[in-house]
């Protein structure tokens, strides 16, 4: 965790443009600018940063909560979006809020939603956002989670972003332990701290059936990256806390195809053959709630530039509601090839 009040001093704002700051110089990654844990999360007085990353989770208090985001308290018709929530794009224009939410949580009393957003922020340009969301729909591995992927804009061209707010939209409500955390990054930043703390770094030095994070410190938000190389007969699966039972459920799309749902023994996997994979995932990890993951892969397919890579979009849930995730592994499926030397797993986290 970082200290929001400090970031205003370290960030310096966008007035000082670096021409080309190569080599890092010890400047850290995403820093926390502010957070709100509330039934109506709202983070104000944000330092002016070129980029924001927003982690949000909503927990259902009363049925059918459908929150929308407002920026700088602008309630004019200054927002538009392209929203995908399962079938095709819906175009929304001249909105008074941007149409995304940690989740349209439905009516399950144990429901939770999680979203990851990225925003650009330059005062004289429209603000552009990319949003990925997952919600558990209803509890249990028999119900697949649902997902959203939206792009959004706030058409303001005179102000920088200084506030993000989730606004209830006339339906249900969140509990008071719902949350929004706003991270920032600016080219002029000089901070050396990070919101994301490394929890595990493992690289295989020989072939093995599995790569395991070992025991990690439990954190509410997890960021996972995997590079996997498999010898032959390609298929692997990811697990939390060594749970290889059918306690997971997923909704996924390969190469942009229609979504498929299934109960699984894994929170993540690969789409197809090719033997080399890069996986990126964000996870909400609340002990007494189902764990939700947003997963994407880029897969080599076959070597050489004559073959395009393949891709997998995947949201999943682990239905455990008694523990936080404290280990992550990726393991070859039965009859498949070993993971090869160089396979690398990294896990970062934060509360």
């Amino acid at each position: 965790m970082s200290f929001p009040f400090l970031q205003s001093y370290l960030g310096l704002g966008q007035g000082l443009q670096t021409k080309n700051a190569a080599g890092g110089g010890g400047v850290g990654g995403w820093v926390e600018l502010g957070r709100s844990t509330s039934a109506t999360p709202s983070v104000a007085s944000l330092a002016n940063k070129r980029y924001y990353m927003i982690l949000s989770h909503g927990i259902l208090a009363t049925v059918y909560p459908a929150y929308q985001m407002r920026i700088n308290d602008d309630s004019g018709s200054n927002y538009s979006a392209r929203r995908w929530d399962g079938a095709s794009d819906t175009l929304l224009t001249n909105q008074d809020k941007v149409t995304s939410s940690p989740a349209y949580l439905g009516n399950g009393s144990a429901n939770i939603g999680f979203s990851v957003q990225s925003w650009s922020n330059l005062s004289n340009k429209e603000k552009l956002g990319i949003h990925f969301g997952v919600y558990n729909d209803s509890s249990g591995a028999g119900t697949a989670p649902r997902r959203q992927k939206n792009v959004e804009k706030w058409a303001n061209t005179s102000s920088s972003i200084n506030k993000f707010s989730w606004i209830p939209d006339g339906y249900g409500t969140y509990t008071s332990d719902s949350e929004m955390i706003v991270l920032g990054y600016d080219p002029a930043d000089t901070h050396s701290n990070n919101f994301w703390t490394e929890l595990s770094s493992t690289t295989l030095t020989g072939s093995a059936s599995t790569i395991n994070s070992g025991t990690i410190t439990a954190k509410k938000y997890l960021w996972i990256q995997l590079y996997a190389k498999q010898a032959s007969s390609f298929s692997f699966e990811g697990h939390f806390n060594g749970d290889t039972s059918s306690n997971y459920s997923a909704r996924y799309s390969g190469n942009g195809g229609a979504d498929t749902t299934s109960t699984f023994t894994k929170f993540a996997g690969n789409f197809s053959g090719g033997g080399e994979y890069f996986l990126n995932a964000f996870v909400i990890n609340v002990s007494n709630k189902e764990k939700l993951a947003i997963v994407h892969t880029s897969e080599m397919n076959a070597s050489g530039a004559g073959t395009a890579p393949r891709r997998l979009e995947w949201v999943s849930k682990w239905v455990n509601t008694s523990s936080q995730i404290t280990s992550i592994d990726f393991t070859k499926e039965a009859g498949m090839g070993d993971l090869q030397s160089g396979t690398a797993l990294r896990v970062w986290g934060s509360d």
């Binding site: 538009s80 650009s120 990319i130």
Partner: protein, 170 residues
């Protein structure tokens, strides 16, 4: 190892390229690009070791391949290109902008894999027009080097204040 900034570039005048200096390569990378445009634009991305890999042509013999979807349409692929496609379905126009987020793996002996998303206001500025969205995966098939330089190039100019920033960790 903690995430750290590897490089950033902000244009102080309009130009047809956004190019980094050479940076210290890391295995795991995350970058963001916020580009502003002054004219008809179709931005493209290249990487390389010391110099960008531009071998081949726009259509054959290159070392990059891409899979992409625009606004949820069926995937299309580009192979053997000398660039990674970063453009809208058509050309971005003066006054428009895009915002791109990309995760990548950069191991010297393996093909480099990229996961990328983009939003832009290709359809027009103002809240009366919805933004457009793009989902892409790329690969750069070099298996001898880590990339340590990134370049975006464009038929027209990137405007002043266009920015690229790259974070990495081993």
């Amino acid at each position: 190892m903690a995430w750290a900034r590897l490089t950033t570039k902000t244009l102080t005048s309009a130009g047809t390229t956004i190019a980094t200096d050479a940076f210290t390569s890391n295995k795991f990378n995350f970058d963001m690009r916020h580009s502003l445009y002054t004219g008809t634009s179709t931005p493209r991305k290249r990487v390389g070791k010391t110099t960008v890999d531009s071998s081949g042509t726009d259509t054959v013999s290159g070392n990059y391949a891409t899979r992409r979807s625009e606004d949820g349409s069926a995937d299309s692929t580009l192979t053997l290109r000398n660039f990674m496609d970063n453009s809208a379905g058509g050309s971005l126009l003066s006054g428009q902008s895009d915002f791109t987020v990309c995760y990548s793996i950069n191991i010297s002996t393996q093909e480099k894999l990229f996961i990328e998303w983009q939003v832009n206001n290709y359809g027009g500025t103002g809240s009366g027009t919805s933004p457009f969205r793009y989902e892409r995966v790329h690969k750069w098939v070099n298996t001898t080097d880590q990339y340590d330089i990134v370049q975006f190039y464009n038929a027209s100019n990137f405007d002043t204040d266009s920015n690229y920033i790259l974070m990495g960790t081993d």
